[in-house]
């Protein structure tokens, strides 16, 4: 298999480029009578620079779908193309590189490493993937990312010393470290109070305006709809409706 080029390929119109293209995407847990279709023949596309919001009740398969779109879960049926590459055909090393360099994740429970301070948490992806070309060291890039989310002055603090909102900002800074083209967010405000959640939504809006990255956000938070270009509704693993602004 020919190694993929993780850098963005030159195409005529960025907005027309498909970042994600899923057809008949299906994820089944278990087998036989106990099998659960967490994602059931989902069809969706995500274009460059757009924000796609995936709505649905708890347990409808939103997070599972996000895991599939990010290449974290490879045990699926159907086809999934990421940045034009058939994800099922990419070897683990190539898919990991794609994930490390072109995709950023933000999780509901932040997933910060408790033994590292904020800056080292942000710089953690550099352990596995080289960042974008430039003269900055991973820690310098991490500091810049922390500055972008307004936490440069908290760089040396441990996660346990930060509030929930600050932890999520650190997690967002970590996702931004390698300047990804696609940001996948799984209930990013789910563990935050209303005011803090509003600040995070505002931050997403600012980051999108500034960096123009593609975002797929799984949520049941209505306020995120203010950012959204498209909304997608899921129920029992199926995409049942789609709205575009």
């Amino acid at each position: 298999m020919t190694p993929i080029d993780p850098s963005p390929s030159a195409e005529p119109a960025v907005e027309d480029r498909l970042v994600v293209e899923a057809r008949g995407l299906t994820r089944v847990y278990g087998d036989g009578d106990g099998a659960v279709r967490a994602v059931d023949h989902a069809d969706l596309t995500v274009r460059a620079r757009e924000i796609l919001l995936i709505f649905g009740p708890s347990g409808c398969g939103k997070s599972t779908l996000l895991g599939l779109l990010g290449g974290l879960d490879r045990d699926y049926a159907g086809t999934l193309r990421l940045f034009g590459h058939d994800a099922s055909r990419l070897p683990d090393a190539e898919l990991s590189r794609l994930r490390g360099q072109r995709i950023g994740f933000v999780f509901q429970s932040f997933h910060l490493l408790g033994h590292l301070d904020a800056l080292d948490n942000v710089a953690a992806p550099s352990l596995f993937c080289p960042g974008p070309p430039g003269n900055l060291t991973p820690r310098e890039r991490g500091l810049a990312a922390l500055e972008r989310v307004g936490l440069a002055d908290r760089a040396g603090m441990m996660p346990a010393e930060l509030s929930g909102g600050q932890r999520q900002r650190v997690a967002i800074a970590r996702a931004l470290l390698n300047e990804p083209e696609l940001l996948l967010c799984d209930e990013p405000t789910g563990n935050l109070d209303r005011d803090t959640g509003a600040q995070i939504i505002e931050l997403f809006g600012a980051l999108h305006a500034e960096l123009g990255m593609t975002m797929v956000v799984v949520t049941h938070e209505d306020r995120l709809a203010t950012l959204t270009h498209r909304k997608l509704f899921m129920l029992d693993g199926r995409v049942i409706d789609e709205e575009a602004e």
């Binding site: 997070s63 599972t64 895991g67 599939l68 990010g70 974290l72 879960d73 045990d75 683990d92 090393a93 990991s96 590189r97 994930r99 490390g100 360099q101 994740f105 999780f107 509901q108 429970s109 997933h111 490493l113 033994h115 590292l116 953690a124 992806p125 352990l127 596995f128 993937c129 970590r174 390698n178 799984d186």
Partner: protein
């Protein structure tokens, strides 16, 4: 990353590393003890880097009496050439046994009174056989550089004597003939002869003094009788050192000297056929092949004690190594358990690393590096601990154990590669223990690991 994890997980990793260190300490200690025992027993008592072959002894019984003098079988130069051509053989040194009666006395300078033997046993070896051995100098035929013509000893300047073969009116002044004795003989003297006669032992410290002591040796006559040919005469022999190549009991002289004297007292045949050959081995594993070739030509190994001791040491060493291997196996299982728990506890962390771009092999490598560092540190600590234990054991042995023949200064041998072996083995066992968990970490489903906590 590995450095941080070592600090984070220092408790369990220290426990795992301790197990490895104990196992490696036991392994290195036992191996060093085995090598030390091998060095003393096979290096000094029964050297195994060489095989001495001699003609198969056959008893002619009463027939020999009817036939007159018994002519012992010898080793011809053609057999020497055959042995020299065998693989694994570096050199072949023929030996010539004294074929004439002799006696010796001397030792006044060293022991305060003359001692002697009425039946002297002697051997002749090539000087090259002991070339380079520490402490041995001047082991050459003095007639390589003969002095002036003489008729009697007073014609020569002391300590020279007149080397005048039987039946000749004149001889040449000669330095005393250099002689070597075996360590075995020194030990025998110190622990059996000296106590019985109230003589001081010729301990290690006195050996240097002993070198240069001159003995008088009578050729052609002994307690058991005179030589059939040749005249009784007295020569001077000077002790020049202790060698593992020397005959166990008796004096060992340069082969050319013995050849001359054998010709003088026992005829040409006694000078042309060797009594045995020492085959030096470049590969100790070639010993059995050399013995086989010798057997095909009517030769048998003179001494099988080395082989027996070697087998004994190997057997005991194998048992001790087995004990160490069991300890290491338990340590490896402990490492496996520690790393299994580590992987289980850090499932979400592994999932996160995968989400951040780590490959499955990154995760495998991460754990294997951790195990490698634990193994390397454990191995280094274990090896150093083994060395310290050896130093303490040697110190206690020097203080507590009574003096005995061949008592070494150290019972242990630590060749450089043993240090390396300790660390390499520790790493291998640690890696073997961590291999399963590392493989499991590589197979962690990141989506599931993250959702478990999410």
């Amino acid at each position: 990353m590995v450095g941080r994890d070592l600090a984070r997980t220092r408790g369990p990793l220290l426990t795992a590393g301790f197990g490895i260190a104990v196992g490696i300490a036991a392994l290195v200690f036992f191996l060093a003890l085995g090598f030390g025992a091998r060095r003393v027993l096979l290096g000094q008592v029964f050297p195994i880097d060489q095989v001495e072959l001699e003609p198969h002894k056959t008893s002619a019984g009463l027939l020999s009496l009817l036939a007159g003098r018994h002519e012992p079988p010898g080793v011809g130069s053609e057999i020497v050439a055959i042995l020299q051509a065998q693989p694994g053989v570096s050199e072949v040194y023929p030996k010539l046994r004294f074929r004439f009666p002799s006696m010796a006395k001397g030792g006044q300078e060293l022991l305060g009174r003359e001692i002697g033997t009425h039946e002297m046993v002697g051997d002749g070896i090539e000087p090259a056989l002991v070339a380079g051995e520490p402490g041995i100098e001047g082991f050459v035929d003095p007639m390589d550089h003969p002095g002036k013509v003489c008729a009697t000893d007073p014609d020569c300047t002391a300590p020279r004597y007149c080397e005048r073969p039987s039946g000749q009116a004149e001889g040449r002044c000669s330095d005393p003939v250099p002689a070597l004795v075996s360590r075995y003989l020194v030990e025998l003297f110190d622990h059996a002869v000296a106590p019985a006669h109230g003589l001081p032992p010729v301990a290690e410290t006195m050996l240097r003094r002993a070198e240069g002591v001159t003995f008088s040796m009578t050729l052609g006559d002994s307690l058991l009788g005179k030589a059939h040919t040749g005249e009784r005469r007295v020569v001077k022999v000077r002790f020049v050192g202790v060698s593992t190549k020397a005959i166990d009991v008796g004096a060992t002289l340069p082969a050319s000297v013995v050849k001359r004297w054998n010709r003088e007292y026992a005829g040409n045949a006694a000078a042309s056929r060797y009594s045995s050959v020492v085959v030096k081995l470049s590969d100790p594993g070639a010993a059995s092949h050399v013995i086989q070739v010798g057997t095909e030509h009517g030769l048998v190994p003179r001494d099988t004690r080395a082989r027996d001791v070697s087998v004994l040491i190997t057997g005991v060493l194998s048992l001790l190594v087995l004990v160490a291997a069991v300890i290491l196996l338990v340590a490896a299982l402990n490492i496996a358990h520690t790393f299994r728990v580590l992987v289980a506890e850090r499932g979400h962390e592994i999932g996160l690393y995968r989400a951040l771009g780590a490959t499955a092999s990154d995760m495998r490598r991460w754990l294997l590096w951790l195990a490698f560092v634990v193994g390397a540190v454990g191995g280094a600590v274990g090896t150093v601990a083994a060395r310290l234990a050896a130093v303490i054991a040697d110190w206690r042995a020097a203080v507590d154990l009574p003096d005995f023949p061949f008592k070494p200064e150290s019972f242990f041998a630590f060749p450089w590669w043993l240090w390396l072996l300790g660390i390499v083995f520790a790493c291998l066992f640690a890696l073997a223990g961590a291999a399963g968990p590392a493989w499991r970490a590589a197979r962690t489903d990141p989506a599931r690991a993250l959702s478990r906590l999410g």
